[in-house]
Amino acid sequence: MRKLRPWLYLLPAIAFLGVFMVYPLIDVMIYSVEEGYNSASQTYFGVGLYNFRYVLRDPYFIQALKNTFILVIITVPLSTGIGLLIAVALNSIQKLKDLFQTIFFLPYVTNTLAVGLVFMILFKKTAYSDGLINVLIQAFGGNGVDFIDGPYWAKMFVLCFYTVWVVLPFKILILTSALASVNPDYYKAAKIDGTSRWRTFYKITLPMISPMIFYLIITGFIGAFKAYSDAVALFGTDLNAAGMNTIVGYVYDMLYGNGGGYPSYASAAALILFAIVMTITCINLLLSRQNDA
């Protein structure tokens, strides 16, 4: 009985993790190789890599892959850079610092779907109005464009903009605390030596907080590859029609929704995503190791 007691405390966690994490993990691999799985009859023809081949040839998946990669490549460096800029600015002031910090963190706690709607009406052209952003563009002499239903680059712009808006709070917070934890003696020493601001930043601050920057880049990549609800908020649930689907969106669409009922395809797509994320994370880790040495 005494020996069993610890396991009693652990039982709920083990049970839930087993059913909803470990088993699905094995199951998803099985699904992904079951060819021609029928969700109604729960039967399949055979075992093989057909599902992967199908997914990789599916134009919707290719589109989703392309969208996701563009989103990742633009938003990860951009949000990390802007985050760093803002964190540095925040750390250099005393007055109103807490207020700014609180304001900047606000998007973190908001409902992505709900605020996405606000972005949609700001950017959308309707029969009644061109939308605030377009009015502004026109006021500066530009040509308005429908960012929600218009050309691809415009839609991608809004998606990137909204994504950066959503992910920045986390990065600003992490970078601000990383910057604040650098011993002020280093800055005093640099100041005595007449080190210029830029050189102090480049030679002292950056190396000191580089572990945190790498952490943010890795989590940023992982997060951005899983983008989905931002896109839904802006373009609605039918992302394929809008041409703005993401890999995760493709997985869900395969599983459920208008084109749903194909857990095998969904599994294959999810595994492809997982492989991509793992590869990129490993590359990142290797790079950061090299950087340390």
Binding site: N183, D185, Y186, K188, A189, K191, I192, D193, G194, T195, S196, R199, K203, I204, P207, M208
Partner: protein, 371 residues
């Protein structure tokens, strides 16, 4: 380079409503002679680090002026003052090697001061040799002992040949043995380079052992300046007397009556020339001499044998500094009578302080016998 501080005051505004400003440094006046090592000494929070920051230029004074020789540097940014600063935490850049750390200040030089690679290397080597770390140039700070890091920090501060070297509690992160070694090292380097040096510490022994002059501060106010031995022998007030010396000075409530000093009901010393008044009496531990017939008796608690000498711990109802510690030569044997031990007092080690303003009251007997 001579440094002159003139009516230097630093006030920090108090942000809590109705609170008075915090005065970290209050109307400071003193002159640091060229090429000397000055120990800035005081308990933590006394304003000594602020004073150092004012000299370095990291902070600017609210009032007053700072002169480096003939130059008024009061509002000059630190990089134009030509100062080197060594931090308590060393502030060595962890991602750079020793060489890169020492070279860092040189790489900041611009315009006509810019140095070639060879010149820089030569200067770095020279500074490293001076502090004797030239064998460890490719190590990173994390791979070095505290003492070695300290040397690197000093080399980095010296490499630009500063006019003034400032050391902020440079030894407090070292263990006792290294501290002793490093402070001798600092003294040697200072003597070799002849750079005017200001050394901040809360450890009076440290300051006294290596400084040409010590400056004692408390609550932002300068208490006394002088050669260490002079300050120790002739403390300006009770605070200075209490702050200098280990074990600390023993303080008693006493009274001067008809030219005699009384502690309790014992008449202990001739202080003729001093007006009748209640006083604080400070007796240095080495101011006691075992004497059965001595004028001063205390209640023995215990005798601690230290080897070189013996420490007698006792109590007295008039003592206001806890128990009394007296240091006597080891050959002596303490034989208490009825639990009491008798002492004769050396006038040069007995100071009396006014009750009004805590200032020391000199008396003729002290001057004569003390010298």
């Amino acid at each position: 380079m001579k440094v002159i501080l003139e009516h230097l005051t630093k006030r920090y505004p108090n942000h809590t409503k109705g609170g008075a400003d915090v005065i970290a440094v209050n109307d400071f006046n003193f002159e640091i002679p060229d090429g000397k090592l000055i120990g800035l000494l005081g308990p933590s929070g006394c304003g000594k680090s602020t004073t150092l920051n004012l000299i370095s230029g990291l902070e600017t004074p609210t009032e007053g002026k700072i002169w480096f020789g003939e130059d008024d540097v009061t509002h000059l940014p630190p990089e134009h003052r030509g100062v080197g600063l060594v931090f308590q935490s060393y502030a060595l850049y962890p991602h750079m090697t020793v060489r890169q750390n020492i070279m860092f200040p040189l790489q900041n030089l611009k315009g006509k001061d810019k140095l070639s690679k060879e010149e820089m290397n030569a200067k770095v080597e020279e500074a490293a040799k001076l502090v004797q770390i030239d064998a460890l140039m490719e190590r990173k700070p994390g791979q070095m002992s505290g003492g070695q890091q300290q040397r690197v920090a000093i080399a980095r501060a010296l490499v630009k040949r500063p006019r003034i070297l400032l050391l902020d509690e440079p030894l407090s992160n070292l263990d006792a043995r290294l501290r002793l070694q490093t402070r001798e090292e600092i003294r040697r380097i200072q003597m070799e380079t002849g750079i005017t040096t200001v050394f901040v510490t809360h450890d009076q022994e440290e300051a006294m052992s290596i400084s040409d002059e010590i400056v004692v501060m408390e609550k932002g106010i300068l208490q006394q300046i002088g050669a260490p031995q002079n300050v120790y022998d002739e403390p300006y007030n009770l605070f200075v007397a209490k702050f200098l010396g280990t074990p600390a000075i023993n303080v008693f409530e006493g009274e001067v009556k008809n030219g005699r000093l009384w502690i309790g009901d014992e008449n202990v010393l001739d202080v003729s020339g001093v007006e009748d008044q209640p006083v604080s009496v400070g007796i240095r531990p080495e101011g006691f001499e075992l004497s059965e017939n001595g004028p001063f008796h205390t209640n023995l608690v215990q005798v601690e044998v230290m080897g070189r000498d013996t420490s007698v711990v006792s109590t007295h109802p008039c003592c206001v500094s806890g128990s009394i510690r007296s240091i006597i030569a080891a050959e002596n044997t303490v034989i208490p009578v009825d639990g009491k031990v008798g002492f004769a007092l050396k006038p040069s080690k007995v100071h009396i302080f006014s009750k009004k303003d805590t200032l020391r009251i000199p008396y003729p007997e002290q001057q004569r016998k003390g010298l």
